[in-house]
Subunit: 359 residues, 4 copies
C-alpha cells in the first residue's frame, strides 16, 4: 500500500508502496486511514533534526504519521466495542509494560522511557492507506466530527497539560468566589494549533485568555481570537496593560519568550512548559527564584497524552463544533493528497494553523 | 516587659522595656514566652535587608520574633481547648480575611498579600516576656517535647512544602512497587536547619536522601546525616555518582547551586524552591526547557505554613524525639539570654544549625 | 407580570399577575424567561408534600420554578461578561455566606442549611415572564442549544454527583488498563430524566450502562437506551445475567429498589444515592455491612449543584447535541403555555421524560 | 520449630513443632518472631467461624498469626535497607499480581480477590519462632517502640480507613476556619483495640472524640479516654446531649448499633464501616435515604492496609509513645507464652484490649 516513509537520521521522505503484511489478530481492527495531520515533530523527523526517532524493530525505514483519523474496515475476534464503519483515532504512545504508570494506562508518564510512539520512534506510523491496531488503543469518534477529528491528537496533549494544571492547583483554592474560573487570567504564548487549543480549552474553563505572539495576528488568528472572545496581544507593543497572569502557557519553547513574562505572574499561579526548542538562552537570577518562592509559583513541563485525554479531546471537539460552527474547520488551513505531502512535510505553508493529508 | 525591638528600615536592634497593655479578650490566652528561635529573616530585619518589614499599625517600632514556644499563663473567656499550663506554639501569618484561601484557613496561600506576620510585617512578634494571642492561632504541644518545640515554626514550612509535593506528584503514580517511597531519591541542597528538616522529613517518607553542600560536613552535620541514614555530598567533588533525583529541594536560593543539578532529574520528578537570595545569576537555555517538557518535570516555590502544618510539625518533632533521641536537641547549637541576643541576631554563630533565646 | 405562584403549605397553584418591582442593580441583569422545566420538587410544592418550602422574606406567596432558561434583556452597571441577547441559565441555590463551602462557591455543600433556593425555599423562582439576577449566578449558554438548555439544571445535579464519584474513587486505581473506564459497569436505577442523564453521562465516561426499571421500556426509553448504547433492564425479570456493578446510581429513592442489588456490587465499587422518597422500608443485616467492609464499598448521597456544575452541564448538552442530534429534544416530551401549566404541575403527563413551560 | 497451627474448617488449634525448610533467598531476610498479637480473626479461625480461611498451597494445616513483630536474624543477597538486628513488622496481605491496584502496591484494594494473607488465607502466618520474608513486605521499626510495635498491624488498618476518609472528604471543604479539624466531632462505636486506635488517631487530627459503648467504661477504657481527652459515652443512657457527628466510625459490625445514630450525622459527614459481624438486622427506610441525599452523606467500608499504612502506623506509635508515655503499653492487657496461647486464642480474657504472645 501507499505510505510516507523516512529513513531515520537521514533527511528527506518518500511516498511509496510498502509491503506490509498485517493480519487482524485477536482484539484488533483494520483501520482505513482518512486523514493524517502534520506537525513540527513530523517536519523535525523529515528534516533530520530529532535525535530520538528510530524505526520499528526489524525495519530500516519508518512510516511517518502520528496524528491520524480513520474508519474501521474489519473487526477481529474478541473486539468488544468497535464495529465496522466506526470512526476512530489511534493513541500515539504505547507503554513500556514495566513501570507503574504504563501498567495502569498512564504511559504519558512512562518512567523507563522504553515506550514506542507510532510514526516517531520504534513503531510505524499512520501515513499509509490502512493500518491494523489493537482496539485498546483506538478511540471512537462521533460521525458528526469526522471533518475535524484529525485534530484529536494535538488537542489530546493540551487536555493532558490542563488536566495536570487543574490537579496541581488544587494545592489551594484556585476557583473564584462563584466556584468557576471567570476571574482568572491566562497568557498563552504562541498562536499555532497548540496555542489555539490551549486558548480554546482555557476559555471553556472560563479563563480570560490573552493569546501572545511577537507580531500582529494573521487573519485566521484574528478570526479565532475574536470568535472565542480572547484577546490577541502583540508582545512587541508591551504587556504592561495586561492583568496579572494566573496561568502562563508557553508553546514556543523559547525561554526568552516566557521568562520576561514571569514577573506578571499572580500569587499561586502556574507556568506550563509545552514547547520544545533549541538554541535560545536567557539569564535568570536569584530574585526570580525568590519571587517564585514567596508567591507559591508552580511550573510544570507536560508531554504526550494517554487514551483518556484522547477521549476527552474528542468530546471537546464535538462540543466546540456545536458551539463555534466551522471554527475548527478553519484551523485546517491546508489539505493535500499523499502525493503532494512533500510540500507540507518539508515546509510550513504560509498562514498555516494545521496542514493535513487526505488519504 | 522586656522585648527585642527593631526600627523597620533602620539597621540594629534593642533589648528594652516596652509598655504593652494587652488584655486577655474573648477566645484569647496570655502566653509566657519560653524560647524564641532566630533565623535568616530575623537577621535580615536587624540588618535592614528586607524591604517588606513594617511595624504593627499604630507602632513605630516592631517587636521581633516569629519562631516561638511558650506556656499558657491565663485563659480568657470562651477559650475551648487550652488550659493554664499548656505548652503552645503560635502561628506566624494571620490571613487577610478577604481572599478565599484566607477564609478557609489557608493563609499560607493568601492571594491579596494583605496578611500580617508576627515579628516580620504588620504585627508585633514574640521576642518578649509574654504575649496575648487568639486560641485559634495557638497550637498545643506535648510537654514531652518542650525542649525542642521552638523548632516547630521552621519545620512547619517544610511540612507545607512536602505536603504540596505529595499532592502535585499524585498527577501520576509516584510511589514504588511496594506502595511506599523507598525507591525514590532526594537531593537536598543546603544543610542548615531547613535543609536538615527536609532531609529528616524525606527520610521519614522513605526517600534515599542526599544532603548537598559545597563543602565537607561539619561535625554536627556529619552526626545528623549518619543518624538519619542520609548521605552528605560535597558537590565540589562531583555528583556524577549520585542516582537520578526524583526530588530536588533547594534551600539555598542560589540558582547557580541547583540549576546545574537539574540534568540529574528523573522523569516525572519535582524541584522545590524554598530558599530566597539575591545577587546570583545563571543562564538557562531552551534545551533545559525541552528536558523539562519531555520528562514531565514540575517545579514548585513554597512559602509559609498554616496551622495544620504547625500541628503536623509538632507531631513530627514528637515522633523524631522518640526515634532519634537527642538528635533534635543537637540541632539547637546556641542558647542565649535576651540580654545577649544581639550576638546571635547580628551574626551567625560558627557551626550554627539553630540559635535560640531562652526567656 | 404573569407568574406561577403557590402558597407554601397549601395545596394548589395559580397563574396570575404579580407586581414585582425589580431594579437592575450593580452587577445585575434582567432576564426574559424563555422556558422553565417542571420536576418532582415543583409538583411536591404544588401538592403540599414538601415541608421545607417557604416564601421569600417579606412575601406570603412563592413564585415557583427553579429549572429555567432565558435571554438577557438589560445589563446593569458593572456587569463583566454578559451582553444583551446572551442566553443564560440561573443557578438555583444561593449560599449562606457563613460556612466555608458557601464562601468559596460550593453552596451545594452548604453546612449551615441557611441557603435559599429559587422557586423552592426563601427566594422567588423563575416561572414568571422575567427576573433580575446577579451576573455571578447566571451561566452563559451557546445559542446552538437554546432549544434544550432548559435541561441544564437537572443535568447539573447529575454532573455534581458524578464529579463526586470520580473524586471518591481516586481512593484507588479505578480506571481500566487502558486508562479509560470502558471495563466498568454501571447500573442506573430509575429511567426518568435524572436516570437518563446519569446514563448519558456514564456512557460518556465510557461505562457499560444498564438502565434499570421494574417494567419494560416505554418507546422513548427504548429509543434513548438504544441510541446511547445502554441496555434497558426490566428488573422483574431478574438481574442475574448482569455483570457485577462498579457503580450503582439510585434515582428512585426506594431502598427496596437498590438494596437488593447491592450483592451485585464489585470490589471497590460505589453506590450513589440521589432519589428522595418516603414510605418505603427494607431490612439490612450485618452480612451486608460485612460485605461492604470486606469489599471497600462506598456510598454517597448527593444533592444540588454549584455554578461550576451548571457550566459543565451546558458543555455536555452542547456536546451531546452534536453527537446525538435530537436525542435531547426528544427528552422534552411536553411543552405547555403558562396558562396551561396547571395540567403538568398537578399531574405527571403519561410517558413524560421532561415537561416544560414555554414563556 | 515451634508454631501455632490450625486445620482450616476444623475448630481448635495446636502448639507443635513444624518442619519448615525456608531458605533466605534473594531480597529476603530471616526474622526471629518476638511478639504476635491476637484478634477476632484469629479466634474466628480457631473457632471455625470464618469460611474464607485456607492453608498455604501444598499444606494441609495453616500456621496462624498475622499481627507480628520481630528482629532480623539473617539477611539475604540483594537486600537493600535491612540489616541484622533491625526490628520489623511484616505486611499481612500479598497482592494478586494481576489487578491494577496490586500492581502498584495497593493490594488492600485488590480487585480480583486472589490475594493471600499471612495466617489467614493461603499463606502461613507468623505464630512461629521465625520466618523468612521478602524485604519488600517488611517495615522497619525504631528500637524505641519494640515493646509496643506488635500493635502496628491493627493500627495500620485504622490508618488506611482514615486516609480514605480524609481523601473522600476533600469533595468539599471539611477543615475548620483555622485550617485544622478541632471543630469536628467524631463518634467511635466500639471501644476495643480498633475503636481505641480510631479514637487516638482522630484525636491526633484534632477531632472531638466520643467513644461509644453500650455500657460504662472499664478502668482501662476510663484511663485511655481520659488520657487522650475523649469522652466515653454509655449509649444506653442516651446520645441526645452529643453534638452532631461529622464522622461516625463503626467498629462493631452491628447495624443496630450505628444505624440509630445516623440521624445525628451532620451535613457532609461520613460513616466508616469497619466492623464485621453476622446475625444482626435493622430496618432502614426511605426517609434515611432522603436524609443521606439531602445532606451529602458518605459511607465507606474499609478493610486491610498496605505497606504505606504500616509505615504510617509505626510513625504514629512512635509519636504517641513520646506523647502519652505508657498508654499504649497499657493497651496490651495480656501477655502469654506460646504454650499458653490456647487460653487467649479460644477465649477473650476479661478486660482485654489486646492480648499478645511473647515468643
Amino acid at each position: 500500500m501507499k505510505a510516507i516513509v523516512v529513513k531515520p537520521h537521514q533527511p528527506g521522505m518518500e511516498v511509496k508502496d510498502v509491503n506490509i503484511e498485517e493480519k487482524v489478530g485477536k482484539g484488533q481492527v483494520l483501520v482505513k486511514t482518512l486523514y493524517t495531520g502534520v506537525c513540527g515533530t513530523d517536519r523535525g523527523i523529515v528534516g533530520n533534526k530529532l535525535s530520538f526517532t528510530r524505526p520499528q524493530e526489524g525495519w530500516s525505514e519508518l512510516i511517518l504519521g502520528h496524528e491520524a483519523f480513520g474508519q474501521v474496515k474489519e473487526v477481529g475476534e474478541g473486539v468488544k466495542e468497535l464495529r465496522k464503519g466506526d470512526y476512530v483515532v489511534p493513541v500515539v504512545r504505547r507503554g513500556c509494560g514495566v513501570c507503574l504508570n504504563c501498567k495502569i494506562g498512564k504511559q504519558d508518564f512512562c518512567e523507563t522511557g522504553n515506550f514506542v510512539e507510532a510514526g516517531i520512534r520504534g513503531k510505524n506510523g499512520f501515513m499509509r492507506e490502512e493500518f491494523v491496531d489493537d482496539e485498546i488503543y483506538l478511540v471512537k469518534v462521533p460521525e458528526a466530527i469526522k471533518d475535524i477529528a484529525v485534530l484529536t491528537e494535538p488537542l489530546s496533549n493540551v487536555v493532558k497539560a490542563i488536566e495536570e494544571v487543574m490537579h496541581i492547583q488544587q494545592r489551594m483554592v484556585w476557583n473564584c468566589e462563584d466556584g468557576a474560573y471567570d476571574c482568572r487570567n491566562a497568557y498563552v504564548v504562541g498562536t499555532g494549533p497548540i496555542g489555539t487549543f490551549f486558548s480554546l480549552l482555557l476559555r471553556t474553563y472560563g479563563f480570560n485568555v490573552y493569546m501572545l505572539n511577537r507580531r500582529d495576528p494573521s487573519p485566521a488568528e484574528e478570526y479565532v481570537s475574536t470568535r472565542i472572545e480572547a484577546e490577541f496581544v502583540n508582545t512587541t507593543k508591551g504587556v504592561d496593560h495586561l492583568p496579572k497572569a494566573d496561568i502562563i502557557v508557553d508553546t514556543s519553547g523559547f525561554p526568552s519568550a516566557f521568562v520576561p513574562l514571569m514577573h506578571k505572574m499572580n500569587k499561586n499561579s502556574i507556568l506550563v512548559l509545552f514547547g520544545t526548542q533549541t538554541g535560545d538562552k536567557v539569564q535568570i537570577d536569584a530574585d526570580l527564584v525568590t519571587f517564585m518562592v514567596e508567591n507559591n509559583i508552580a511550573v510544570v513541563g507536560s508531554v504526550n497524552a494517554n487514551k483518556w485525554h484522547f477521549k476527552s479531546a474528542v468530546n471537546y471537539l464535538t462540543m466546540w463544533k456545536e458551539k463555534y460552527g466551522d471554527l475548527l474547520n478553519r484551523m485546517i488551513t491546508t489539505v493535500v493528497t499523499p502525493e503532494n505531502a512533500k510540500e507540507i512535510l518539508e515546509n510550513k505553508p504560509k498562514g498555516e494553523i494545521k496542514s493535513v493529508i487526505k488519504w
